[in-house]
């Protein structure tokens, strides 16, 4: 997911605002950084096409709102960063503490739990000896 600077700002705006049309967004950003209504309209349109904003028509104008909330977006972004750099489903360029994609079942995890407990028991026996 590759976003321009204005797109990021507009998206952040919608995470704080429930819904707004192009004029309201323009009014907000005009004070901060200037720009024309056309620029805002095309930015909103691009974000809609990227699936990051949803919209519905009210009268003559579109009302936009965030299609994904902040938490969901961050989750998606982490996923995207990884997938952009994977060979198949592996080899992330992120170095994760624990891979979430591993297919360990409950039984295997219990086995590992037991291994840890055995190790602790052995260490305590050695310490007592």
């Amino acid at each position: 997911m590759n976003l321009g600077e204005l797109e990021k700002l507009v998206l952040k705006y919608f995470w704080q605002t429930k819904a707004a049309d192009a004029k309201e967004v323009h009014a907000y950003f005009e004070k901060q950084r200037g720009g024309t209504l056309n620029t805002i309209q095309s930015t909103l349109d691009r974000l809609f096409k990227k699936g990051l904003l949803s919209r519905d028509k009210q009268g003559h104008a579109f009302q936009y709102r965030a299609a994904k909330q902040r938490k969901a977006f961050i989750g998606q972004l982490i996923k995207d960063i990884t997938q952009d750099f994977t060979i198949g489903d592996e080899d992330s360029l992120l170095t994760a503490f624990v891979s979430l994609s591993s297919e360990l079942n409950e039984g295997q995890m219990d086995e590992l739990e037991k291994m840890i407990q055995d190790y602790r028991a052995n260490v305590s026996v050695e310490e007592k000896a």
Partner: protein, 348 residues
């Protein structure tokens, strides 16, 4: 036809390309046949840091051998070396080095090699730039805590290190709220170890080098490197947290947190408010090189390695250097032999 110094350079590149191809073929075969067929894990007898070095050597070996072979070929043509070691360098009979024809098998193979190399480098650099842009965006959505771990407001419990020039450690709020202070410290030390070693950048460079290999071999090498990097970071933590079982228990706890509710959401397909993401480096798919054949998962390998107090072997450096030099000599000497073999087969 090109005659002169440029022709010498192009001929040297041909020799180098030949060396690169030969080593890529040999290593791929070694990875595929020796490890996949026998299901044995020769590299698992080595320590994680030794495995890392071996894997780097495997990734770099085509270029090292190619460069050495080309260097030997050019040195064989100089007067100084002819005087000093005339007998040895007589072996490198270099066929018409000052002439290069583009519409020969030399030209075609060099063109093919350069095209492939350019494509792969451009593709990987492009990905790097896109990824860098996304990481910047991710960083702008996070806030560093007092230990400089960037906290992300997300519902998937995970921690990772990302970034190339100044890698940063990230942790999600969902994970942070589940951790005790000790567990948090373990994760912090682990991620800091990755950041200090610039592992994300090294991973990218390793992927770039291994992208020249066939997909199967490249995947296995990358999986093995991922595992070795994680084990090295675990080993760094174990220098501070003496009780290794605490590190292992933290690994397992996070694994348990990440499955269950999160995996069930994942399995249920696209959801409008899908907060679940999962990423990378699952070594479960027969990572023949680095993983223990009995274990089926990256996490199992890490926990077993962590709790295993046996000293692992270190790399036999002398042997490795000897192999690289021997291969380079072979490539340099066989350049002319290969040349004659090709021309003989084309002429008949």
């Amino acid at each position: 036809m090109i005659v002169g110094e440029l022709a010498i350079l192009l001929n040297l590149l041909s020799i180098m390309a030949l060396g690169v191809l030969l080593i890529i073929g040999s290593v791929s075969l070694w990875v595929k046949v020796v490890h996949s067929k026998t299901k044995k894990t020769y590299l698992s007898v080595y320590s994680a840091s030794s495995r890392r070095r071996i894997l780097w050597l495997l990734a770099l070996s085509p270029w090292l051998v190619g460069l050495l072979a080309a260097s030997l070929a050019i040195l064989s043509g100089t007067r100084v070396f002819a005087i000093v070691t005339s007998d040895i360098f007589e072996l490198f009979h270099w066929h018409h080095p000052q002439a290069f024809t583009f519409n020969s098998w030399h030209g075609l193979s060099l063109g093919f090699a350069l095209s492939c190399a350019s494509f792969l480098v451009i593709q990987n650099v492009k990905r790097l730039l896109v990824n860098r842009h996304q990481i910047k965006w991710l960083q702008s959505l996070s806030k560093p805590d007092q230990n400089n771990i960037y906290l992300l407001d997300a519902e998937v419990p995970t921690a990772f290190t990302a970034g190339y020039y100044q890698p940063q450690c990230y942790m999600t709020s969902a994970l942070r709220k589940e951790l005790t202070l000790e567990e948090y410290t373990i994760i912090q030390l682990h991620e800091n170890a990755h950041a200090k070693r610039a592992d994300p950048l090294k991973k990218w460079f390793f992927q770039l080098l291994t992208s020249f290999y066939p997909l199967g071999a490249s995947r296995q090498l990358n999986q093995a490197m991922s595992l070795a990097m994680e084990q090295c970071a675990d080993a760094t933590v174990s220098k501070v947290v003496i009780d290794k079982s605490k590190i292992a228990a933290t690994l397992l706890k996070i694994k348990r947190l990440s499955v269950g509710p999160f995996m069930s959401i994942l399995d249920s397909g696209p959801i409008e408010d899908n907060t679940v993401c999962y990423f990378g480096s699952d070594q479960s798919v027969s990572s023949g090189i680095a993983s223990d054949s009995l274990s089926s998962d990256n996490l199992s390998d890490r926990i077993r390695y962590l709790l295993n107090d046996d000293q692992k072997n270190t790399v036999p450096l002398l042997l490795v250097v000897s192999v690289v030099i021997a291969l380079s000599l072979f490539c340099a000497m066989s350049a002319d032999l290969f040349h004659h073999a090709i021309e003989y087969s084309l002429a008949h």
